[in-house]
Symmetry: C2
Subunit: 320 residues, 2 copies
Amino acid sequence: MITMTEIAKLAHVSQPTVSRVLNGNMNVAPEIRERVLACAKEHDYQINALAKGLQGSRTNLMGVLLTDISNGFFADVAKAIETEARKRGYSIILFNSNYNTESEREYLDVVRRYRVDGVLAVPIRETSMMWREYAEKLDVPVVAVTRSANGLDSVYVDHAEAGGMVAGHLVRRGYENFLFIGKEYDSKYIGFHRKLSELGYGDRAANVVYQDSPQITEALRGALHGRRLGIFAGNDIYGLRILSALRELQVSVPGEAGVIGFDDTMMSRYLNPSLSSVSQPIARMAQKAVSRLVYRIEHPGPCELLDDPLHAELVIRQST
Amino acid sequence: MITMTEIAKLAHVSQPTVSRVLNGNMNVAPEIRERVLACAKEHDYQINALAKGLQGSRTNLMGVLLTDISNGFFADVAKAIETEARKRGYSIILFNSNYNTESEREYLDVVRRYRVDGVLAVPIRETSMMWREYAEKLDVPVVAVTRSANGLDSVYVDHAEAGGMVAGHLVRRGYENFLFIGKEYDSKYIGFHRKLSELGYGDRAANVVYQDSPQITEALRGALHGRRLGIFAGNDIYGLRILSALRELQVSVPGEAGVIGFDDTMMSRYLNPSLSSVSQPIARMAQKAVSRLVYRIEHPGPCELLDDPLHAELVIRQST
DNA sequence: TTGTATGCGTTATCAA
DNA sequence: TTGATAACGCATACAA
């Protein structure tokens, strides 16, 4: 691939002059300018981003650490981030932690090797102090998306609040026993349970950590006795599986049991019964997170932590 | 971030010696080796990948150009590629063309700027010769994944063959009219139609280019007259929407109409009725594509084009 | 307005 | 076994 030095030779000028032209510096004679531009175009010059990055300025790279891109929600997040970053001239290096804390740690090192200008992360554990440490070592700004992390700028949806909304909704719909099915102890559940307690149903809420489909069926069978059961799924995929399991158990929805998912995946409106869900403002989150990260990149130095909780929205459908 | 030169000073050796130690070159006195390693560890040294890449060796970056990562299938592909690439020490720069040919072109320039070692691409148009041109300019190897591209190493599933399998299946199931609903003229449809012709149903197959949900409903209403209708959806998302539209039209599935999707997305088995689909060996494709790309990276120079069509598999469920 | 010189952090070549 | 030195491609400071 052709370099500035080579163009300089071809155009009979010095390399810094080529640099000036290509960077739009106006202090160059028009004739030289044109000669250089023509030559660059002819040879389809592309700047060497590595050299540029090495030289000290920016790399225009953002590291994006996700938990699982095969989850439709995060895929949408990734897409929105990529779009937003590109608008501002950044490219994305992508990593999948697969909910593995070790990978998360390891990828952070990789990210440092490439001298990314900043990092967007979906932190696996919101509560842990790991990220505070990480961020210090990283010496580039980090913004948490989707969930908040201790000690990080965070653009996220208030999951506890969303959990509370779900609880309120299920109670209004007349459910009297409650079940949360999710991947792990989760602030959604905390908010869910808190709200149920406030409403006087604190002792009627159970929490199941999901492992596999048979386990879901078992949990449901155990929870279904008499009272109408309101089920809160940690995400739409669980919601889908729960609907399927209830069908198998011949439980009527939303009659004997109601189900509400999380993330409002595209599929949920097409299911039968269509799945109620909690919708997150993905595009807005991506926009805010990228924009905050760019700000931090362009204004280095200490800075007050951003805590920007957005609000989820209930999308009520047939399943509740 | 600490550099080799700084470590050199701290350890009272020369910078190349540090380089040797950190690269595992054995021609270094054990005591020096330990001193350097200790110092590197203490300061959490991470190599500057930009400098390394600039110097001439590899960048250990792969460009990944996708059409749309928010499609569950491609999200799975992206994940598998990332996993496979990481196993071999590569990181991923990700791009979403959003089925936009201009973006595709533009991203290729970005990829060149970062001097990636190679590119994995889901080409938007399989038939066009664009990629042949692109690959020449790129001067790094390119491998097409998922679809084959003219003039590129290609690891893909034979969509025409898969379309034929679908046709055969629908005919065996007793459907007598046929409809393909997909994003655009597609080799799936070509194979589907060819097989139907062979079986004597050539004049009973229609092709609908999908735009929005109302349009699907209209198309279905138009196609449902008397004979049982076998519907082939270009992907599972369309399949889902079609099932939903049929419910709305009160058409029984798989009785009056049968539906089979494409990609065998995770959700399809949980739908009601569960959705028949065509499953593609994603992990194997990713593994083969990455492995081919790495081979080409490690063995530069001209080389016979790889054409590695894998085979799809029908997953028959309730919807047919 | 243009060119010369220097440095970014590596690897590689060559001497010592 | 170790250390000087150059080179990769660019941006920047400075000189002309």
